[in-house]
Symmetry: C2
Subunit: 422 residues, 2 copies
């Protein structure tokens, strides 16, 4: 058991997912039942809420509100993309975090996020030790990108995978119905550096007819010539072609396909990317093969699709949050909860721990050997990995034909520190 | 009772919907149980399948396959956008249709589609009378656009409305979580001439905080100045702004916003529209207000979202199909099944009949008085109309975490006519 007694704060960071609130709910419900933890607080908009001392009392929220977090997508506590200054160059941000923690007797810090967040958490822990402020720091994994090191997979991925696969399946039936007119289609997915999300569309394929027929990810070599050949081959066989492409796809010289300068005008910020990968591929297919091509880009809807979230993913997200608290009150600190697959058939998964620093410095790409030789379709190894993660549906409470989501009342803690400008 | 005895053919036309197969299933199951109808056939790819004599025996399909149509999106029989030549100028196409019908003793023609399809059906009926070929022609309403005349609403609309509203709700929570970074967002919906689909996103709003905060449709005047004012006002109140925009939005001079020539390069076919409305609006917000803006364009996924279809819509689609057969075998011809709302609270809806010509020549836009004065949000009149249409969920059979859809075996009828080039 930990000797540390005090308040706990939970914060969410980076891009939201369908199940990051389920993780936070795990933290909150477990913390509220723990003797070592007195108050349970939320940091409004991630670490920004700590820096600006915008903290609210989650323990004061209705228990139904907290329970509804399990079926509410996105970051209900508030998220941010603020990067703390580097501790070696400027300790100001980190010292401020500790100042606020001390002022509110916050002794437990639970941070749900990706590798940048784990880096931040690790540094906060280090500084608290230097300053002799006793506290426990725990990381909770979160990312739709599935690119965190040290864990079999990440909470958030299973749900986006399920939604993208269903979308490819459904939109693929449109192209199959109307191929005499709309012959090709391109679905663009998120995934700036890793192809895990686009790859998930392969789960939609039960036979050769099924969409998608081609999947492109950043981990495989991509050339215009090979792409045109691929589409021509699929089209000559089936009379149609449905493609899934990751936004992070790059040409052989390393430039993003989405930045194809000839194809797209610059936007008002001078960014080359106005559209995306899907529009560039559409242009190539129409230009080189003369085949009418539809495109789609689901954007934010894909990472928040709670209405079709994976039950497996949602449950694991909750467990990761609850386990972080269990580990913390047992005296563990400086670790992130990880998922360990102990069996694939039947699927069984348990939690373990990894050092925050090891997660912070790692990145997990889609293994090249999980793709076919041509690099245009994930193979059985990927399917074996991903299939269990999309199993099951979440029953979302409905009202008037639409999901019922929660929102916090936000009872703010009184400010005790001087103002701090970020 | 009709004295007409012979085979029936069912055809699907135009853009697919989540529930057009439910309508076809209603036709098929009802026709298979009817004494006046001998064989039940499907026209592969709509009227193209009739012209090219590509017809298959749906009665020979497994009954489980036919039952699964109720939960399979898009046009399983195959659809097309082929427009028959005008009968006044060139009767060739119409005479060909009759030639094929005669060759296979097809005496019942069920056509699921929009107003163009009802026009085609009306002309086929007229020519069959001229030529003295006894047959029954019935229309089944289908369109996500909800713009058909003579009917309270159209099968297909309720499901796209439910999905778009849920998408706005979910993606809206993303902007709410991450507004310090991604401050604005634009969701583009289908709807080339009418704003029904974009308007449906208003169903997602339960209070002022909820997305979407602004909705733009073709039926209201749209100017750049007013748009910038709208976004500035919402942003200054909430710190964020979530917008839904119909692809059919036009500037005051009548040109589509999506064709904004300064903003977007031409594609390889020389079309001005490479991107869409969402990207144009993003460019305006970023340029005029300096607020980072995300955008999304769900494309084909929105009209095929069976995984979250409206139960009300799906059931009504089925009933329209079954009613078309009931009416046909009772001797009715030249009519389309319509939906009549007899009560709104509780919602009750029955079917009626409209002349094919009346549907063919009509178009139903979103009434201007169903929008607020500013023209940037549907009002209570619209909500009252639309809410019942999205009620209930469809239980889709699942397999491996994803929907299980059907596909026909397609036992082709032997060809009896000469080849015909379309």
């Amino acid at each position: 058991m930990s000797n540390v007694k005090g308040n706990a704060i939970v914060a969410q960071s980076g891009g939201p997912t369908a199940v990051i609130n389920a993780s936070a709910c795990g933290v909150i419900q477990q913390a509220l039942g723990s003797e070592s933890i007195t108050g349970v607080y939320g940091a409004y908009n991630g670490i920004l809420g700590v820096l600006q001392e915008e903290i609210f009392d989650i323990g004061a929220e209705a228990s139904e509100t907290i329970e509804l977090m399990k079926t509410t997508p996105s970051a209900a506590i508030g998220s941010c993309r603020y990067k703390l200054k580097r501790i070696e160059e400027d300790r100001a941000d980190f010292e401020r975090v500790l100042e606020v923690f001390k002022a509110h007797n916050i002794r437990y810090f639970f941070y749900a996020g990706g590798n940048d967040s784990m880096d931040t958490a690790a540094k906060i822990k280090k500084l608290s030790e230097e300053l002799g402020y006793e506290m426990i720091v725990m990381g909770v994994p979160k990312t739709i990108d599935n690119d965190l090191a040290c864990t079999d997979h990440c909470p958030g991925y299973g749900s986006v995978a399920k939604f993208i696969a269903a979308s490819a399946m459904e939109a693929g039936r449109d192209t199959e119905s109307l191929w005499t007119f709309d012959t090709c289609a391109v679905l663009e997915t998120m995934g700036r550096n890793a192809g895990w999300i686009a790859a998930a569309a392969a789960l939609a394929r039960r036979d050769e007819q099924d969409a998608p027929h081609l999947i492109y990810v950043p981990e495989a070599r991509f050339t215009r010539e090979r792409f045109v050949q691929d589409v021509r081959r699929v089209h000559s066989g089936l009379g149609r072609c449905f493609i899934v492409a990751s936004e992070g796809m790059a040409w052989e010289d390393g430039t993003y396909v989405a930045e194809d300068k000839g194809a797209l005008a610059k936007d008002s910020f001078g960014h080359a990317q106005l559209g995306g990968v899907a529009q560039v591929l559409k242009k190539i297919i129409e230009g080189e093969l003369g085949l009418k091509t539809r495109w789609m880009m689901q954007g934010l809807t894909q990472r928040n699709a709670m209405h079709f979230a994976s039950r497996t993913d949602r449950d694991e997200a909750f467990i990761c949050g609850a386990e972080a608290v269990r580990a913390a009150v047992s005296g563990t600190s400086g670790k992130m909860i990880t998922l360990e697959r102990t069996s694939n058939s039947p699927y069984e998964c348990t939690t373990a721990l990894a050092r925050l620093e090891d997660v912070a410095n790692g990145e997990k790409k889609l293994p090249r050997q999980w793709l076919n030789e041509e690099g245009n379709m994930p193979n059985e190894k990927f399917i074996e990995f991903a299939r269990p993660l999309i199993e099951g549906e979440v029953q979302v409470p409905m009202e008037g034909g639409l999901p019922k989501f929660m929102r916090f009342e936000r009872k703010w803690l009184p400010k005790k520190c001087a103002r701090y400008d970020v």
